[in-house]
């Protein structure tokens, strides 16, 4: 694996499967009475968040803490960043404090890439979402969720998503989740179809390793998983679609539409959901919807990523479980 995780394209098929398998091991830790491993003791992980995202930040925070890392949360609001400090100076400060890994969420596409490649810091950089570019750990947790549901928790180990049909619906143009998912799911052998009104599909999408459709109803029966993306209401003012109701009618997932999906197919959402917009309450609360699982899986995936980027050659869980055995 590379030293940083900036884009889902950084991962080979074997890298990605390794992360998913490691995350399964991490998930077992969560089932124990003491949800903690000593693996990253003495290492410092900085959560550098230039954008509000409580969910992603606490997910990374929980992951780092379960691995016994020291966690520093650096939020741009109310910090020197809001007083005009540059990304570079913030990075130099973190470097001086000895950050081993920086988890960065930034409103500008490419900010994590710059952080990793400008010589400002030595630590590993993990992209926790940059602008409208990528969100690779979200794609990993989505792939993890799909593999568990469609292949099986134990049966999935060592396996990819060969031949699975995954549909991503919504604001593709502005979605970092969609970009990372298209790349990662393709790497894992899945067939990805994007569904959106043409206004929310980027010019240049023809080079992406996926299909594009404007017709949700036609795609649903051929989907093993349907991933609904959040549609922000401010898009409406920019004439991407006429009204929220029209969007909802044409591209929202309701009970009737869900019934057209194959029986085994699952509904996913990266959260937070706009109930009544892209997804109805009936679908969101159904047992085919994996939203809550995705949150739990996110912690396991982020543990796996931090462990693999920082942990070195030592096995994370096997050592720890051996130790647990010894102390019994």
């Amino acid at each position: 694996m590379k030293r940083h995780l900036i884009s889902a394209a950084d991962l080979t098929r074997d890298d990605a499967v390794l992360i998913l398998d490691t995350a399964e091991e991490m998930a077992r830790v969560a089932d124990r009475p003491i949800k903690k491993l000593p693996t990253l003791r003495g290492r410092t992980v900085v959560n550098l968040f230039f954008e509000d995202s409580t969910r992603t930040r606490i997910s990374f925070e929980a992951a780092a803490k379960r691995l016994s890392a020291d966690v520093i949360n650096f939020s741009a609001k109310g910090s020197s960043v809001s007083k005009g400090e540059s990304l570079k100076d913030t990075a130099l400060t973190l470097e001086a404090m000895g950050a081993d890994a920086v988890v960065i969420r930034h409103h500008a596409s490419g900010a994590p890439y710059r952080l990793a490649n400008s010589g400002w810091i030595d630590g590993a950089v993990v992209n926790a979402g940059d602008g409208t570019h990528e969100h690779p750990t979200q794609a990993l947790l989505d792939a993890f969720t799909v593999r568990r549901r469609l292949v099986g928790r134990d049966a999935g180990l060592g396996r990819d998503l060969e031949g699975r049909r995954i549909t991503v619906v919504g604001d593709i143009l502005h979605s970092r989740v969609a970009r990372s998912n298209v790349l990662l799911l393709n790497t894992l052998g899945a067939h990805v179809t994007l569904v959106a009104p043409p206004t929310l599909v980027p010019v240049g999408v023809e080079n992406w390793p996926c299909e594009v459709s404007y017709d949700l109803d036609a795609v649903l029966p051929k989907s093993d998983a349907v991933m609904m993306l959040r549609v922000q209401s401010e898009r409406m003012n920019a004439a991407f679609f006429p009204t929220e109701r029209e969007y909802s009618r044409r591209y929202g997932l309701d009970g009737d539409r869900m019934a057209r999906m194959p029986e085994h197919a699952v509904v996913m959402h990266p959260g937070p959901m706009n109930r009544g917009m892209e997804i109805t309450a009936e679908v969101a609360d159904s047992d085919r919807c994996t939203v809550v699982e995705q949150v739990a899986n996110g912690v396991s995936i982020r543990m796996a990523v931090l462990y693999l980027l920082l942990g070195g050659a030592e096995p994370a869980v096997t050592t720890a479980s051996a130790r647990t055995e010894e102390t019994k």
Binding site: A111, R114, S118, G131, P202, V203, G204, E206, N207
Partner: protein, 428 residues
């Protein structure tokens, strides 16, 4: 030191000849000219061009002297072989009054490295709402002929029409920064395959082309002269070709960077490649080269846009747009046009000196290398190859996209009215 003999230079790339400068003018051009009483510049193997003229330079003074001043900018121009530059109006305060253009003009005269012809803003404060006092700027000591809101587009069709009409009274020209503002809100790079992948806001070609289409029609309707700044797309080339085929008085420029670089470089997220209009695709680059070769595009203009280091040493979205270009322009043109066989050196003289001087109605520049003409001359060693090292720039800023890139050609001497501003590659 009133006489200088340039010995054995290939004038406009042609036969080897001697050129004798006496005072401010060229006294003689021929073979075996006497060196008596003259300082001799041995120029065997070098190309002698008329001093280069830039229609599009940002000198940043007044207001942003941290990135460039008229003095440092004209020194950079001299190093690049330029003897005249047009200073764009987007300064602080904006060059929208006779007072500001006269100040810039005077600073240029004082620098002595290169003539500075101020460009006047089309509208007050570049706001696109009210015409600036174009006549007053023309009538001032600066004698403004070129008007531009560069950096911003004159997007209101009525204001553009009026400006085109109004400047006819004094043979002026409006130089349009063609960028439809609504189509480029939040634009960060060329809209296409790469922007889709990088998740950066797209700057679509149509935002440039739609304005050009409108403006050539407006210029035709009111019978005015129109110049289009930094043409960057293959579609724009088609529109200008069509306008010229109609006999309309439309001219266009292309920057060196649009002749060489593409949006693939944005994959590095290094803001040194962030520029407006953005770097386009390889197909656009090839179309621009063809158009410059066949004369559809009239001239090369640098759009030299200095920025301090901190405005580029940051994330892409926060970075300023623009590249310095004066000191590398001729090398890039040699690389992209001469070494590809698209232009000979006479063609380079045409596109980088004669034609920009005509478009800018600039007296004393862009003249033939002939007896009796002003001695504004540039001597180039075309055999030189070297990596670009911004640390050695005369410009105050270092935001070049060519750092470390090997480029051909080097300006060895620049003469401004008979006085060497650059001697043996060094500022005189």
């Amino acid at each position: 030191m009133s006489k200088i003999l340039i010995r054995g230079a290939q004038v406009l790339g042609g036969e080897s000849q001697d050129v004798l400068i006496d005072g401010e003018t060229i006294a003689a051009v021929g073979t075996g000219l006497s060196a008596e009483g003259a300082q001799v510049v041995e120029a065997a193997g070098q190309i002698l061009l008329p001093g280069l003229v830039d229609l599009h330079t940002h000198l940043r003074e007044p207001g942003r002297e941290d990135s460039e001043t008229v003095l440092t900018g004209t020194r950079a121009a001299a190093v690049g072989g330029f003897t005249a530059v047009h200073a764009m109006a987007n300064t602080f305060p904006v060059a929208d009054t006779a007072g500001v253009v006269e100040q810039v003009y005077r600073l240029g005269r004082e620098s002595g490295y290169c003539d500075v012809q101020p460009v006047g803003a089309v509208t007050v404060g570049l706001e696109g709402k009210q015409l600036a006092e174009l006549g007053a700027m023309h009538d001032s000591a600066a004698g403004v002929k070129v008007f531009s809101d560069d950096g911003k587009c004159v997007d209101d069709a009525v204001i553009m029409r009026r400006a085109l009409e109004y400047v006819k009274a004094f043979d002026g020209v409006v130089a349009q920064h063609a960028q439809e503002p609504r189509l480029t809100e939040g634009a960060q790079m060329n809209e296409g395959v790469v922007s889709a992948e990088l998740g950066l806001g797209g700057w679509p070609a149509v935002a440039e082309e739609s304005i050009i289409a409108r403006d050539v029609l407006l210029a035709a309707h009111v019978g005015s002269r129109l110049h289009i700044c930094h043409l960057s797309t293959a579609g724009s080339v088609e529109l200008v070709r069509w306008a010229k085929s109609k006999g309309w008085d439309v001219t266009a420029e292309v920057t060196p960077h649009h002749l060489l670089l593409t949006d693939e470089l944005v994959r590095t997220y290094d803001p040194v490649y962030k520029v407006n209009p953005p770097l386009r695709t390889q197909a656009d680059v090839l179309a621009l080269r063809e158009a410059l070769a066949d004369g559809t595009i009239d001239c090369v203009a640098t759009d030299h846009a200095p920025h301090p280091h901190e405005d580029k040493d940051c994330e892409w979205g926060a970075a300023a747009m623009g590249m310095v270009g004066l000191e590398t322009a001729l090398s890039v043109v040699q690389e992209t046009m001469v070494e590809t066989g698209l232009l000979d050196w006479a063609g380079v003289a045409d596109r980088m000196s004669f034609r920009p001087a005509v478009i800018g109605r600039l007296a004393g520049h862009g003249r033939p290398v002939a007896a009796g003409e002003p001695a504004n001359l540039t001597l180039v060693d075309p055999a030189y190859r070297g990596a670009v090292d911004p640390a050695g720039f005369a410009s105050r800023s270092r935001n070049t996209p060519y750092r470390g890139r090997e480029l051909p050609g080097r300006v060895t001497h620049t003469f401004l009215r008979g006085r060497a501003t650059v001697l043996d590659g060094k500022l005189a």
